[in-house]
Symmetry: C2
Amino acid sequence: MNPKLAHFLDSGAYSTPALICDLDRVRENFRALQAALPDAAIYYAVKANPASPILDTLVGLESHFDAASIEEVRQCLIAGAEPGTISFGNTVKKSAAIAEAMRVGVDLFAFDSREELDKLAEAAPGARVYCRLAVSQEGADWPLPHKFGTDAAHARDLLIEAARRGLVPYGLSFHVGSQQTGVGAYQDAIGAAAMVFTDLRQRGIDLAMLNLGGGFPIRYRDEIPPIGDFGLAITEALRQHFGNHWPELIIEPGRALVGDAGVIVSEVVLACDRSADGGRRWVYLDIGRFGGLAETEDEAIRYRISAPGIRGKDQDMVIAGPTCDGVDVLYRKTVTLLPERLAAGDRVLIHDTGAYVTSYASQGFNGFSPPEEHYL
Amino acid sequence: MNPKLAHFLDSGAYSTPALICDLDRVRENFRALQAALPDAAIYYAVKANPASPILDTLVGLESHFDAASIEEVRQCLIAGAEPGTISFGNTVKKSAAIAEAMRVGVDLFAFDSREELDKLAEAAPGARVYCRLAVSQEGADWPLPHKFGTDAAHARDLLIEAARRGLVPYGLSFHVGSQQTGVGAYQDAIGAAAMVFTDLRQRGIDLAMLNLGGGFPIRYRDEIPPIGDFGLAITEALRQHFGNHWPELIIEPGRALVGDAGVIVSEVVLACDRSADGGRRWVYLDIGRFGGLAETEDEAIRYRISAPGIRGKDQDMVIAGPTCDGVDVLYRKTVTLLPERLAAGDRVLIHDTGAYVTSYASQGFNGFSPPEEHYL
């Protein structure tokens, strides 16, 4: 815990549950990613955390932005982002959203189907478009299978069709899955993309850009490779498949920029032994799956939880949220050690919750408001 | 589709996604439940849909209310509910919430652990309390296992302790699981509760009330037994286990009161074949798991979806939401037939979405706002 966060935590100037986020850490993460992949432009995945202090900070660092919706495009513009720095990266968009984005100056759109291409040709004539390839997501803790992306032959045909329809066939993208901990995941994906580049060049179309997507992991409970290892693996794969003629590169980090910048402070609502669960100890927090911790579904993302200032022996506990919903349980299989004497009214910290938490929070399930947000 | 909803749908006086809800249907459902279980007081499970037009309507019908949080208690009071008609039914409550509820006149609290009893004894001295029993939830489409409830011996001990601590040991509750389609589920639960009643009577404590919980199902895709069958099964079990000396009865319907009163209107954002999924057709709607359809997790609740006005042959399609999240897929295993020619811009109806939808909606994942709400 850095001194700035620790000082704010001590101040008590908040109610629980609250997300407290360190903008300096966002800056450090941005620079570390730039250093690891100096040839790639960083397009921040706004969906990870769209809070205006984060967007303002990233505009200050001359970041680019990956928007999932027209609402996110508007949020970026309000933060002062230039329209030319925004990519509309959702392959599924309403025509009205495409038209509005084009009108305000956004000129880069993702797609992966002929039907989306039809919409782009009509609502964004002349725009730059890139096609998303489906690639393996093995090794990702939060994979995104099947829903997006197409195969290489179809991507090639779609990009040829894009040119024919007056769009600029600008590049390719892929996504290796979120919280991807295997540095090798990029190797095959870059190889597959390179073949489409070659195929299209032989047909007279020179793609300019390769979008490597996001998915860069952060450390939750388990060790992960340092970001530099991802940079080396990607560089190596690019050399192998593109030689000395690299395309313009884009990366779309979200979690890797803001995840470890945030910590949730939560109050224990109840701690008790559950005879209905073989006598196990259950701890009910004032935030759960519907208060923002949605990525604990199937215990996929395993946050570190600590109870600073509470001494004594630890034991394994079930961690649950405050709602009456039976699925609002965070960790039941995952061993979670907390002090035996942890009791109602005590506070716990849920670490590395700067990304993919507040934006998921329900507007009021069981009457509970989304967590407060404080950016320092 | 009743004429009132159909007329509003035709009016176009809304943007998608929108929930449109018929308050007359809520009134009909209330009366049908009253008729099926005339001896039970209806405590509406506010969490199912806390919209003020629903609460106002139910206050008008002299409903009671089951609140999951102090925020829901406040919402009921704002709607004009008498504090004495409110049960604070979450077994996990902050002390401050208990104290505030007591202060405004709420006098009935659920619990299922000694630690919660400690809080009640301190923050709500003299209040009526009831203990939740853990019972089998086999047959429920949305079960709530392990998280709540205790065994019969512990419930008995806790209620004795409640009396000793100056609380009124008022009764027992159980919950057979949400969308419970088996009428037999109540038989064992009522039997188990009756044994605790007897046990306590022999120790000088006369419990007054049995809370049968909620869970009454509505028809989604599959037929369910009529509500009258649940009434008969419950009555039969009460006769068998309580003879002619029935306790005061409470039921806590949520879904059964408001579920089939609502319909979501959604726009198709994209319909395309997915080579990455063996060529299957995918339909992306402008509402998904994070826009409120949270109970489609693991395809547990299977809503009927229709595309009125679109003719032609049907085919099985995958139904997905609009976000960039890979888990935002509603139905992939569940066969969902929609017209082959369904295309971007078309509208579909997602039926029976009056309960457990809007309250789950995220405050803005991927920038998408919660659905509009219209109550007619």
